[in-house]
Symmetry: C2
């Protein structure tokens, strides 16, 4: 649901660093490598073990003066025939090309090797001559006086330079991903990811006795998996509002859900005719069964699969930090995750403060109009209904007479100064077309010429009451809308985010990219009324979610009022994790499935049976690793924290996967391609040509994604 | 190629612990849990963080006397109404059921809860009365005086008891895998696996600066992958002999190899008609490209896929420890792996001595008749040709006249005592039917009535020369065979292993199950003559393997003589890993592909291009994690070190995967099932019934696998 105005180029993912107000720039290789080394890599880590080099290029300092070193790296840069800069993953070092006759062969080698050639040099660490130090380079005080050099591999002309500031299309980056990954930013991202995951493992395995258990990825499609899919959809912004949410939940039976939606499970044909494995969207069933199995602290960095066709910011395979515990309550899981994130948080970021703040689902919807609020800035939704209890304005009167009728507003700080008339037009159009709802800007500056109809209708006391309640300044603009509660909240929640983007695009600093706001959203409803028949209920997340302990009695009387023990973890307005305490009692599970949800319990009989065989109380959570690392590194896309991502159409542009296969390849699986004209394997040559020519069309430009 | 005699029940996998001579028994839960805790779990690990319990059941000792504790666990056992034994993953503890009136409700709960119910008890740690201590139980000096108890979940009648000594069919174990996993042996296996993997990660990531990088599993079928498949086949015993090996290599082009063989890559249909992903058999291409990308120390605990149809001891998905390094040589990789295994080796096993011994491929074939020798026992193959240079025995004369003719023997210690006539008949039959080769047993005891024809033909000096050369004892039997060198070695290599099994089945201790013999096998040939045209060459492993540095000059003159930089790691006669230094020079790679192998280089153009863009020298290795953990734990099958394994037919018996899917489920993938009668989704009920009834047929009994 993109806003229609062209100014809003930045998408939700980029919110924290895009726009002119953001100060983050990709770190230079030297700096980034140093930062990473200092912070996350342990001192005991030996980067030079087993290999021929004595040191990495980036680690040498004045303290190494006089040492004879052997370095291996890529030629980054050459200044005349005097110096060359050698690069490895750890940084840059200046190498002095020897000029004397006796070293003519070394000079020739170092002067003639093309850039990005791989060389090995042995020499002495010396001081740079006074005045030639480079304070911007971590190794800038020293250089290498070369004695011997060896060309390990020569480099041909590259399709692009290995420099972060070099602009290249994403299609080109993906085709030559192995060159793209040489850039310092990608090195930083993937190394940081590895370090964070390692710290998470230390925390879970070594500090808290978790067992890392691998679960199958060749599984089968089951109701549980479908429910997970829905939950994922909801979590990832396809349905952050109740309205959309219930729309997605509008199907009646488990088996019917999937075909109604975009997300599907990949199928893997087996050698038995008609039988397929499926690639699971999460290990949900296995982790619950592991609890029944007595592995009371399970975790896995789990590869999951989801076929959503062509969607930006989705990957057909992704990774989640999957956790389940027995004998645990919601607070326990929350403490565990807070500890986990604090422990694994990169040292070059501001340390995390725990516990994270918590907010109920109801509050989140009320104040932020979404279940994943970005709490880095204010502009909260305020209920101003009371001001208009005795208003003369007719349409406001009408709204307040309705049972769910409400009047709410948000305040755009400096809105009169930074936003233009066309922005407000766009806002109004957006509200009408997406929510069928009127929204009125209220300009507070008396001299303001751009007065909305509402401004004229308002009594002075109403206006001053508004200004006082909203603590509004003269330059601010209020956005006021009246209508049904949930619609109003949702609309203002959207407008809050879009106006923040607009303000930041105009230079206002609202969200510091160095700041990370974690937030728990809790007390979701356990059930929601079905869209098509509100007298019936369906699970808000999945039918295994346990009811809130205080509400269990309501399960049997007023199930629609039961809050759940589901919790979401939100970071800077993105949901990065979610989980719940599960039902461990077979009878309660059966009651929920049969009586409340009117489901066919036979479909879940093996889970019910497992619960009957001594299932302990248990609960868990899953964190989206790609998204988390993306937010932590400030990468513009999750593709920038994945070594070999797929394009938004699900293609690997380097290898051209997926590709045509021969009929022999699929013959053992008793399947055939439905369109006969493409069944046969194309000639290899034509396939390669197709790859080359289609490169430019496959990916959108980075700015658009 | 199983031996035909019925006595040889144990398969290669079981060799180290099956048979009456083996002393390993599954550890009792208390012991195993204690051992695991003491050895591999760090002292800093807090098993009680975040949860309601204060202690695990297994950790309490006399030092806890007087402490009030809260425990959660499963009721393992109850003695009258006096005691119950509570179990968690950590061990067992005795709980005293209170007998006084005031605790009647606690007594009732603890007496009435069925076995395997989950309870929480709070009470005081007290000493057991004198004489009632149980020294076999780690917690045997103490017991719990209960104050309060809560039934967390009641347990219905289980399909089998949770006791290791309870015999149950593997089909039943798999159907109720979550119950099977409660057993102490499975808990031990999976926890040990997790701990070993964690130690490996510490070693790689923290001690040596490796970067954990996830590579895609939705990829495409490529020549490289096919070659990996072949290598895997060879490694896993389908072709341990050159003869079989070249048979598998008998196809001429990459694309033709796969359809000829059993192993295939799973295909995953995409939403583009006719285009498929494939699930890769290893990350080989990605790891080499990561070297080009400058990630000079990569590792991944990688999920790999291989569709081999129904084969015992194979899993359609498996895990390998995948490693690649830049600027490394063969010695470097070997040292790295030795350090890795030593560091991650369980503390309850005998510590590993490094470096591991090394043997050339030629030596291995010569002495053990296989490229993965089990060096835990002798019975080496000895060349006795010289003894027969002037023999009067005609068929031996004839053999020695042939260019590759040889006479070799192995000595079966105590063979005359332990083996029976029918055993020798079976040995002879095996040699004829599998190798078309005569083998003659030679009984050394003069009183031995079971004299073979050869025994009668032998001159006394020949016999005494043999006895002297073989250092044979009176009760020993020599197996002598004459023929073409490789055939003779292969046959005697097989017979050596089978005779060892026979001897062990008769009570002879040949291989101590507590002993682990690692062995490097090195200097494999780089190329082998093609079976169907020995004037042409093909890669012995894969075309990316680098030639041995001393043999590079031969590449251009006598390529058939070039040794490779490939290395295999063998443990107790099983290959658990293999790797090589790769070719990093595009020209050399092109020469090998085009001139030596006569391949179409276009198929590998992207790899050649990457080598041209500054590829560093690099090499790597992959360890088969499932196999390694299986050998370390002494499990009878790799299924016992995998949480949710598939049956040998590739089925998940718990969920009944793979299963029929609806036509809607596959419709977006433009495929259809070839046999129309099974295209439609079966009625759920009938599918469930089918699962139930087919359980008993799907898996072979454990003894057979």
């Amino acid at each position: 649901m993109p806003l229609p105005w062209g100014l809003c180029l930045v998408n939700r993912m980029c919110r924290s660093w895009a726009g002119p107000a953001r100060k983050t720039t990709p770190p230079l290789l030297g700096c980034c490598a140093r930062r990473l080394t200092l912070s996350t890599q342990k001192r005991t880590s030996d980067l030079n073990s087993f290999v021929v080099r004595t040191n990495t290029c980036g680690e040498l300092r004045s303290s190494h003066l006089g040492q004879e070193v052997t370095l291996c790296g890529w030629i980054q840069y050459r200044r005349q025939s005097l110096f060359l800069v050698l690069r490895d993953f750890h940084g840059l070092i200046q190498v002095v090309i020897p000029q004397d006759e006796s070293a003519a062969s070394v000079k020739k080698l170092l002067c003639e090797a093309p850039l990005e050639s791989v060389v090995q040099v042995t020499g002495t660490v010396i001081s740079r001559p006074p005045g030639q130090e480079n304070p911007k380079m971590p190794t800038g005080e020293i250089e290498i006086e070369v004695k011997t050099a060896e060309l390990l591999n020569s480099c041909k002309k590259l399709p692009f330079e290995i420099k972060d500031f070099m602009k290249k299309t994403e299609a080109l980056r993906m085709k030559y991903r192995y060159l793209d990954l040489r850039g310092s930013q990608m090195q930083y991202n993937l190394r940081l990811r590895s370090q964070m995951v390692m710290k998470m493992r230390e925390y879970l395995c070594n500090l808290h006795g978790f067992v890392d258990i691998e679960t199958p990825t060749l599984f089968k499609k089951t109701p549980g998996e479908l429910l997970q899919a829905l939950e994922f959809e909801r979590r990832n912004g396809n349905s952050s509002f109740l309205k959309e949410f219930t729309f997605y939940w509008g199907s009646t039976t488990w088996t019917q859900i999937s075909p109604h939606k975009g997300a599907k499970e990949f199928v893997v044909p087996s050698r038995e005719p008609g039988k397929f494995y499926s690639l699971p969207q999460s290990p949900q069933q296995f982790k619950q069964l592991l609890m029944v199995a007595g592995f009371d602290r399970y975790f896995q960095i789990a590869r999951c699969y989801r076929d959503e066709g062509s969607k930006p910011e989705r990957q057909p395979e992704f990774t989640q930090v999957d956790i389940e515990m027995s004998f645990i309550d919601q607070t326990g899981i929350q403490k565990l995750i807070e500890g986990l994130l604090q422990y694994s948080w990169p040292k070059d970021k501001n340390p995390l403060t725990i516990p994270f703040p918590s907010m109920t689902y109801t509050e989140a919807l009320d104040i932020y109009g979404t279940d994943k609020p970005d709490t880095r800035f204010g502009m909260k939704i305020v209920d101003v209904s009371d001001i208009f209890r005795n208003t003369a304005i007719e349409f406001l009167q009408d709204v307040l007479k309705e049972p769910q009728g409400t009047i709410k507003t948000i305040c755009i700080p400096g809105g009169a100064k930074y936003l233009q008339s066309k922005d407000f037009e766009a806002i109004k159009k957006f509200a009408v077309s997406n929510f069928n709802q009127e929204v009125s800007p209220l300009f507070l500056k008396t001299s303001e010429s751009r007065k909305s109809p509402l401004t004229k209708l308002l009594k002075e006391e109403e206006k001053s009451a508004l200004v006082s309640l909203m603590k509004a300044q003269e330059e601010d603009v209020l956005l006021l809308t009246a209508g049904e509660y949930k619609k109003v909240c949702s609309l203002l929640g959207k407008l809050r985010l879009e106006c923040a983007d607009l303000l930041e695009a105009r230079g206002v600093v609202l969200r510091d990219p160095a700041v990370f706001h974690f937030l728990w959203v809790v007390e979701f409803p356990l059930f929601l009324p079905k869209e098509e028949d509100p007298t019936e209920l369906e699970s808000a997340h999945h039918p295994f979610t346990a009811p809130h302990p205080s509400d269990i009695h309501l399960l049997y009387t007023e199930p629609e009022k039961v809050r759940s023990q589901h919790y979401d973890l939100v970071l800077n307005g993105s949901e990065i994790g979610g989980g719940s305490i599960r039902i461990h009692n077979a009878e309660q599970q059966q009651y929920v499935l049969e009586t409340v949800l009117k489901e066919d319990v036979k479909l879940l009989s093996h889970l019910l049976q497992a619960l009957d065989f001594g299932a302990p109380p248990h609960g868990g959570i899953a964190l989206g690793l790609d998204r988390l690392v993306c937010l932590v590194t400030g990468a513009p896309s999750i593709r920038d924290v994945i070594a070999f991502p797929k394009s938004f159409r699900g293609h690997d542009l380097m290898s051209n996967a997926p590709d045509y296969v021969s009929s022999e390849d699929i013959e053992p699986y008793h399947i055939q391609v439905k369109r006969p004209e493409v069944t046969d394997r194309k000639d290899i040559k034509s396939v390669i040509c197709e790859t080359e020519s289609s490169q430019q069309l496959v990916l959108p430009s980075r700015a658009k994604t």
